[in-house]
Assembly symmetry: C2
Homo-oligomer: 290 residues x 2
């Protein structure tokens, strides 16, 4: 039973679609079919939003581990994280039943629901969203236990992320905005159905999902400078199969570097701007059935 | 006759395609057919590049008016502009025959050559580039005299800009990179032909171009917040005709706002991220023949 749900935008200050959705629902109200839910609408990092940057000092969406929440880090986002943890959490003993944190990406990931556990609850949620929104992608990041993630949404008893793209930082695209709204409403529709005990085990059809693998870095020279870019045949093909031997990079002197995995992988976060400084080219995943 | 040509990338520190093209030509050399030209390869704003931002304190590409170059402004980019003006200029009495400044945009402007004068020289240049690269767009910003612009390229006796999109800030796309390279080489091919007196008046066919009109702002409420986004039918349609009565914005309460001009216009810089703080939605232009 969901007694309290927190919808959050602006965890990253230049991800406009979630911010605008929160503001519009604050101004115009949520669809009336959600009246029975207890929903709070939140902007997480106003300072980053005003500066039109992802974060002012440190990435807010990496601050919510127990270690970091207990540290004496005085970075703006570390301090903010403690405040937000009191508001939504406290993590591990939370007053909020469900935190839904809304993001966007420069990668062509479409509307992606990120879940951090593949338990019965999240399997039903994924199936429900996929049934209501067949174009949705389901990404499973369960490589470690839920509470070990540093994401803001883990302040809730349960937490998920909405990740929609492609959209440049600081830009609001109508198509991305509408996908974001549709996915947020699908999740809230699930909450209503869940509360009304309309979600029955085995009633919803199994669905496709992608389980996070690892990050693949750009090739670098000894000075740390990139020597290649994402190959045009990989660019914009998030969640499409990348086959062994298929090109993933093109070097600046014109050579192709192929994917050297033993089997196909499903890349995502391809060429995401926020990973520029980390030199992350994309993340791999395995196609699974939930 | 061109005795000295300056190719510049990184005037905006998060516009990666020009930066990478300059670095690659520094490392691998320019194509040998340009050996007869005296070309310098330059990164304009290393500090902005290292911070992965458009600029650190002020937009460098607005600093090159005579007034600003003579001012006592101590902003990082204002100081840098004076240094660059000594290097490429001095403006109005320049040692550099031609400054080619390379940019990219989040708008779907394809490969656009921006010229600041529609005189015989630039008409021939535009026609040559368009013949060599039919997919190129020619944008004419001659609403004021060449030397009154604040652009870095106006430090040269002649100056143009290359503007390619769509590409998010801080991201390098292979397609955008290749369009940038192709257009830079087309301009340098023109320089070779011009020096060899192979450019004859009337020999190149007339070409389509777009003359800059004015900026159109997002609708704002009394608090200065946007009340609408770019309409999906306008998004990504840079340099396509926008007809009177066609929707240009969709308000957040679901209404369409049409273009209310008396005739069609050719929008560009549609939803450009760098104009976020200025609330500029797009620029208009008129279709002309050069």
């Amino acid at each position: 039973m969901f007694n309290s749900i927190a919808l959050v935008g602006g965890t990253h200050g230049n991800e406009t679609s979630g911010i605008q959705l929160i503001r519009n629902w604050q101004q115009f109200g949520l669809p009336s079919r959600f009246n029975e839910l207890n929903i709070s609408l939140n902007i997480a990092n106003e300072a980053a939003l005003n500066a039109n940057v992802r974060f002012v000092e440190e990435d807010l969406n990496r601050q919510f581990t127990f270690d970091r929440l207990a540290s004496n880090n005085l970075a703006k986002e570390a301090v903010l994280a403690k405040t937000l943890n009191e508001k939504f959490g406290p993590k591990g003993n939370s007053n909020t039943d469900f935190v839904i944190d809304i993001h966007n990406t420069t990668s062509e990931m479409g509307a992606t629901l990120i879940i951090l556990e593949a338990d019965e609850f999240h399997i039903q949620l994924a199936r429900f969203v996929k049934q209501q929104m067949p174009e949705a992608n389901i990404l499973v990041e369960d490589e470690k236990p839920y509470l070990e993630h540093g994401y803001l949404c883990t302040t809730g008893k349960r937490g998920v992320m909405i990740e929609v793209g492609g959209q440049p930082q600081g830009v609001l695209r109508e198509d991305v905005y509408l996908l974001t709204q549709t996915m947020a409403e699908a999740i809230l529709d699930f909450c209503v159905a869940y509360n009304n005990q309309e979600i029955k085990t085995g009633a919803l059809p199994a669905c496709e999902a992608f389980r996070l693998g690892e990050n693949v870095g750009f090739p670098l020279n000894r000075d740390g400078a990139r020597t290649a870019m994402i190959h045009h045949s990989l660019q914009d093909n998030d969640f499409k199969p990348l086959l062994p031997g298929s090109p993933m990079f093109r070097t600046f002197d014109g050579k192709d570097i192929p994917w050297d995995g033993e089997k196909e992988t499903y890349p995502h976060f391809i060429n995401e701007a926020a990973y520029f400084k980390l030199d992350v080219a994309f993340a791999t995943s395995e196609r699974i059935t939930l």
